[in-house]
Symmetry: C2
Subunit: 331 residues, 2 copies
């Protein structure tokens, strides 16, 4: 059984989202807590800008929960940079006990699944879950020098400049983390690093099928089933893979990456990066849940476990996805 149910239902008592200017012009723009004026965010390097976004996300989430940094028992964080420096250096800044994670763009789910288990165990009070990405750091690490002005293929996605932080606790009010389905690593042999959606869709399908099997629920149970950053093509592949297994997602299905930019923003298949699902969860989804517009949400961030070394050595790209059940209880 890959799905566990949290007995005490940890609550999301704080959240914060911060994005770059391009992301602020997208459909979720008015929901984000902070939109940066430019991608450097007053720093000398894009890596420092990414870290500053992470730090602001932590501060913002703390403020929204009415907490101080030393009220936090544990930080669970990860990012796309080699050796997850944005996360580690943020943990250094706040002096919090720290577990570094790597689940690529599934990290928001990995941190929530792990964090909720730790909080539910009763050993931890307030746990902060954190992740994000930056277009300029990811692009030059994984693909091409920014100066190259490289042409983009139709299957490509745009790595979002965005970060999100969530604070979990047994005390306080907010959407509840009710269940988590821990995903397996799935690989259908996609080798194209410009087609992340196709690489990740099989893992999203596997995790969703497992979730429905483990819980006996149907897709219609949820107001919203939302994957992370499959993008336009990946989301279509997911629907096909599920339909092959007799599962039809309905109008309650969407993908954060697919909807992250407008058509005119020229991002081909949409947004990608840890920041996409993290910023949508910590703005749009949580705000809509608090307003009662969503009561039951299945949040399924998706990660592509690629590295440049692996790709250069001819490896295919495995995916991993975890599913988090969020419900607005009688709060």
């Amino acid at each position: 059984m890959q799905t566990i149910e949290f007995k005490r239902r940890p609550k999301i008592i704080g959240s914060y989202s911060i994005v770059g200017p391009k992301e602020g012009q997208g459909p979720f723009g008015s929901f984000f807590d902070y939109v940066m004026k430019n991608d450097l965010f007053g720093e000398k390097t894009y890596e420092l800008a990414e870290r500053k976004m992470f730090e602001q996300a932590v501060m913002g989430a703390l403020q929204s929960a009415g907490l101080q940094p030393n009220d936090v028992d544990l930080m669970l964080a990860g990012d796309l940079l080699n050796q997850i420096i944005s996360s580690s250096f943020t943990a250094r800044a706040f002096n919090m006990p720290y577990l570094g994670l790597f689940g690529a763009c599934s990290t928001m789910a990995e941190s929530l699944a792990t964090g909720a288990t730790l909080v539910d165990s009763g050993h931890f009070g307030n746990v902060i879950c954190l992740t994000g990405s930056h277009f300029s750091t990811a692009e030059r690490q994984f693909r091409f020098p920014l100066e190259l002005g490289n042409q983009r293929v139709p299957t490509s996605q745009w790595t979002a400049t965005a970060a999100g932080a969530t604070i979990l606790s047994l005390e306080g009010k907010g959407p509840q983390v009710v269940m988590a389905t821990f995903g397996r690593v799935i690989d259908y042999g996609v080798v194209d690093v410009n087609n992340m959606g196709a690489a990740m869709a099989p893992s999203a399908a596997d995790t969703l099928l497992t979730h429905f099997k483990d819980t006996g629920r149907k897709p219609s149970y949820y107001d919203l089933i939302v994957t992370g950053d499959l993008g336009k093509l990946g989301a279509e592949i997911l629907l096909d893979l599920l339909e092959d297994k007799g599962i039809k997602l309905g109008l309650n299905y969407s993908d954060c990456g697919h909807c992250y930019y407008t058509r005119g923003q020229d991002t081909m298949c949409g947004g990608s990066g840890c920041g996409v699902s993290a910023s949508v969860l910590n703005s749009y989804i949580i705000k809509k849940m608090k307003k009662g517009e969503y009561k039951k949400v299945l949040f399924v961030p998706t990660g592509a476990l690629m590295s440049t070394t692996a790709s250069q050595q001819g490896e295919s790209i495995p995916g991993v996805s975890h599913a988090i059940v969020l419900e607005m209880g009688g709060v």
Copy 2:
């Protein structure tokens, strides 16, 4: 409080260690489960060799516990390679639910601390904790091309070719995971990437001081207090830092990295890499505990959260260390 006590005391029911030929000639040689004949391990690349070591560690740990891959509920794994490909690709091979971790050389402790909390929660049956490192993949990723025959400075350490896997469960027999102290990220401003011991020692000191404060225990409570891979210089710095705070470690203190190679093996300050503490735990320490030679062990792997990008941008190197209390109960 950074230290938690596990109510149900998860047990180490399976373990396995695998090392390279150089490591097999070191002081722990006769304790390791498998010594490779050469560093390529029959593969085309060192990255594939590292992955094969991880896979063999999983198979070996499963066998030692009398389990099959599908008996495992979750794999917690991490490594030093960018985007932890050794771990992710191993999870792909075994089709297990997977949480990727990054704690650099503290990963064996990070996986045990997290894994024990998950097992203790009652949600997970058998959890496998896995990490390792490979001299040739790490050297060319973090430092210099192997062909360069680069000269080594006196403070340098030798990244071990080694991996270890541990299976935790509430059922079965073996050393118990009794407590964990979750460490903070500590940075004293060391910028020298050839002096990992100095970069990590302050975090080891912080975690040990926190552990003794949280538990009210003195160092003499333990038969063995063993840090991960501080090496000769880092271990000396740790002793100094603790003595400044009025804590004296005695003859029961040692460091896996410091003791990992013989003096004649020319590794300067000793071994480093996730594989050091992972292979020593899953051979020497667990075997000695099962024989009753150690009853109470404080296992404190240490990690340097460096990346080449961060170092090239002038950043200092933060460290993180987690402490695990292992006890041989009335088994």
